[in-house]
């Protein structure tokens, strides 16, 4: 059990097994925390991955020698960014 000795607080549980079991409520607590962890990780990694993919594809285009897109920035900020331009394929 947690004891307060001169202001210090200890971990509530005696052992890892006790923390896992949580006096019978273990499955509930850990599944709730686990599900949340997975969802939050997904929420963080999805946009990161998407950004990375876009960055890599821009880099590849730059390498292939398309230094500016056909459109300037003012044109790109159009509804829906309907870019119909086909990519320059590598020779």
């Amino acid at each position: 059990m947690a004891e307060r000795s001169s202001g210090a607080v200890l971990v509530y549980f005696d052992s890892f097994a006790a923390a896992w079991a949580m006096a019978g409520h273990g499955p509930f607590v850990w599944s709730a925390y686990g599900l949340t962890f997975i969802t939050l990780a997904y929420l963080i990694f999805t946009p990161l991955r998407r950004s990375r993919m876009t960055m890599l594809s821009i880099r590849a285009e730059l390498k292939r020698g398309a230094p500016n897109g056909r459109h300037t920035s003012s044109q790109s900020v159009a509804n829906g960014a309907g870019a119909q331009r086909e990519d320059v394929h590598a020779p």
């Binding site: 607080v9 971990v11 509530y12 019978g24 509930f28 946009p47 500016n68 459109h71 900020v77």
Partner: protein
């Protein structure tokens, strides 16, 4: 301050600014989450009546709070888009809606998981849970509306209207459901009321709420950056930035 907000409306400026922001906000958010989770799981004492299952509160309440705040953020972005015609607000709306929906979902599921050992049922129709469920519908409606339109600018306008209408309704919906269920269930059972929460539980709760807010901000900004990158992939400013990095 207005010039700052004005600058935020420019995609290149926002992109650079958010890049700097994420650099320190992401680690802070993750750290706060870890601290909050560990505190709540291992250090906080168990509840007198509920035992250890109450630890789910450290996820359930923050998720619910941020989910609700997120909808207001969504509506505010909608207002900015509709009234002040700020294009960046469209991107913000697009980013917020799915994140808010996910948080609402987390709140509902953790609420159900908490309910089972505590009150014996996976699902209970009380005012807050029902209002959370309706909030989920409101979020999903915005997400679905965005997807249904081909023209994304028109989609943003429609979603702005929808989110504003939803915002006006949220207090009405909550009050009416609350009133209704309190008529049907005599107040002997208070499902989500806690009279006074002890400091040893309040502090980890506050930390977790802060953590969820920080995470929400991080995820929304990350989504906005990803959206900007794909929308402006042909623009000179972005290609320069990528080329130089």
């Amino acid at each position: 301050m207005w010039s700052f907000i004005h600058k935020l409306g420019s995609p290149p400026w926002f992109y650079r600014f958010s890049g700097q922001l994420i650099r320190w906000l992401l680690p802070i958010a993750i750290t706060t989450c870890c601290v909050g989770a560990i505190w709540g799981l291992l250090f906080a004492p168990p509840d007198f009546r509920q035992g250890n299952s109450y630890r789910i509160i450290f996820i359930h309440v923050p998720a619910a709070v941020v989910a609700l705040a997120g909808y207001y953020a969504l509506a505010f972005a909608g207002l900015a888009s509709l009234v002040w015609k700020i294009k960046m607000a469209d991107t913000a709306m697009r980013a917020i809606a799915p994140v808010g929906a996910a948080l609402t979902f987390i709140a509902l599921v953790t609420g159900a998981i908490w309910g089972k050992p505590t009150w014996g049922a996976w699902w209970v129709w009380d005012a807050r849970i029902t209002s959370m469920l309706i909030l989920l519908f409101l979020y999903l409606g915005v997400v679905a509306l965005f997807e249904a339109y081909d023209n994304k600018a028109a989609a943003a306008k429609a979603c702005a209207v929808l989110s504003l209408v939803g915002t006006v309704n949220i207090p009405i919906i909550y009050k009416s459901v609350d009133w209704w269920y309190s008529l049907h269930q005599p107040a002997s059972i208070k499902f989500t009321g806690e009279s006074a929460i002890d400091a040893s539980m309040l502090y980890p709760l506050l930390v977790n709420i802060a953590a969820f807010y920080a995470l929400f901000a991080v995820v929304v900004v990350l989504n906005m950056r990803a959206e900007l990158m794909s929308t402006h992939r042909r623009s000179a400013w972005l290609r320069d930035l990528v080329g130089r990095s």
